[in-house]
């Protein structure tokens, strides 16, 4: 029991009390449930890997996005984390493929550009497989630094680079937008 609690405590956001509660829940659950939880944990490590083209987490390599016959493989959207892909897929309007950096430039954590997974993106560009790169990193100092760094690297190869717009959330009121958001919204305005 102590071993289980100690292992659960290593999970993000799980303190001693939560770990204890989860451990007791697992203890009380059926053999089947406990077994399939353990198996799921094993499978994640045994079967999932990173797509060799886009770094997305996948059980087949290349991933389903990179091998889809209906997607535009020459349009690449760059995101920080694999979970960001779901947010973009929700729109059902993006028909290109992805590239996952697995992080962003973060000086306070000692993370520089050399720590990001960029090489397979530049390889795709060097092989002339890309027309446009859309940079969809977060609108934070770290995300912006990452975007600027990437665009400088990619533009050298003559590929079109775009950045997702920042601005006022849909359904909100511009009266409550903070100064930076408003400024970015003005900068990113479009002609009607």
């Amino acid at each position: 029991m102590t071993r289980l609690i100690d292992e659960l405590k290593k999970l993000p956001g799980i303190g001693g009390k939560s770990a204890q509660r989860l451990a007791f829940h697992i203890l009380r659950s059926s053999d089947d449930d406990a077994h399939s939880l353990a198996q799921a944990v094993r499978d994640v490590k045994d079967k999932l890997r990173l797509c060799s083209i886009c770094n997305n987490i996948t059980d087949v390599d290349p991933c389903t996005y990179c091998t889809s016959p209906t997607r535009n493989l020459r349009l690449v959207c760059v995101v920080e984390e694999p979970t960001n892909i779901a947010a973009i897929e929700k729109t059902r309007h993006f028909n290109g493929v992805y590239h996952v950096l697995h992080g962003s430039i973060s000086p306070l954590h000692g993370v520089g550009p050399e720590h990001l997974r960029i090489s397979n993106l530049t390889r795709r560009i060097d092989k002339n497989e890309v027309d446009e790169v859309i940079i969809a990193t977060n609108p934070t100092v770290e995300g912006e630094a990452t975007a600027t760094y990437l665009s400088q690297t990619i533009k050298r190869a003559g590929v079109k680079v775009t950045r997702i717009a920042m601005g006022i959330p849909v359904g909100s009121d511009i009266e409550y937008a903070d100064e930076v958001t408003m400024l970015k919204a003005m900068e990113g305005r479009r002609e009607l």
Partner: protein, 246 residues
Amino acid sequence: MAIKQSEAIVLRSYPLREADLLVTLLTRTDGKVRGVARAAKKSKKRFGGALEPLTYVRAYWDDREGHELARLDSCEVLESPLADEVDYPRAVALGYVAEVLDQVLPDREPNDAMFRLALAVLANLRAGAIWMPLTYFDLWIVRLMGLLPELSECIECGEGLNGSRAWFHPLADGLMCQQHKRLASNEMQAESRRLAAEMFRAPIEKFGGTAWRKQQGIDLRKFLAQRIERQLEKKLVTASMLDRLD
């Protein structure tokens, strides 16, 4: 509970539990204050971009009795680093300013000179122009920490260094003359010592606009960063990242 408010500079924010952020603020009235911004990670509404490092804000918080951490109520952005271009060197420079301030300042000790220094440096830290404001920041912060030795004399023998060569070393607290320099010392150019003297006489704007190369004042910044790291008894994460920039 009475809500306090002050101008402040956000130094750091870390995720805490599921949706909260642990935020370190340099406030004008109360010095360094650490507090929790509830639900800031999920609901971006109340804080927006205000908790990004080095954002100049008006912060509202309450100090709960018996709690070390304040409860951060809201922040209004006064000036955001995101309003200007953020390239990689500027991000590292901003990180350095945040790390140094966070490390050297004690909790809850107001220090108006430090606050004004931070504001002045942030206002001048632009993409493509980081080395001048960083030099100014290093000089003044080391002086405000009380760690700046007399740069015109040898700390070993007291002999004047003006007009002669000077050296520094991570374990020596000041400059040394030719005779007393230690093994593996670095030389500090007379030009850099002159620059230091000028920077103590004039506001930062006087040095602005000039596109500094990294090489300018590099020995002075190295000497000053060594003073800070010696005081902290540890290396600064962002200092080595600055070293690696071109």
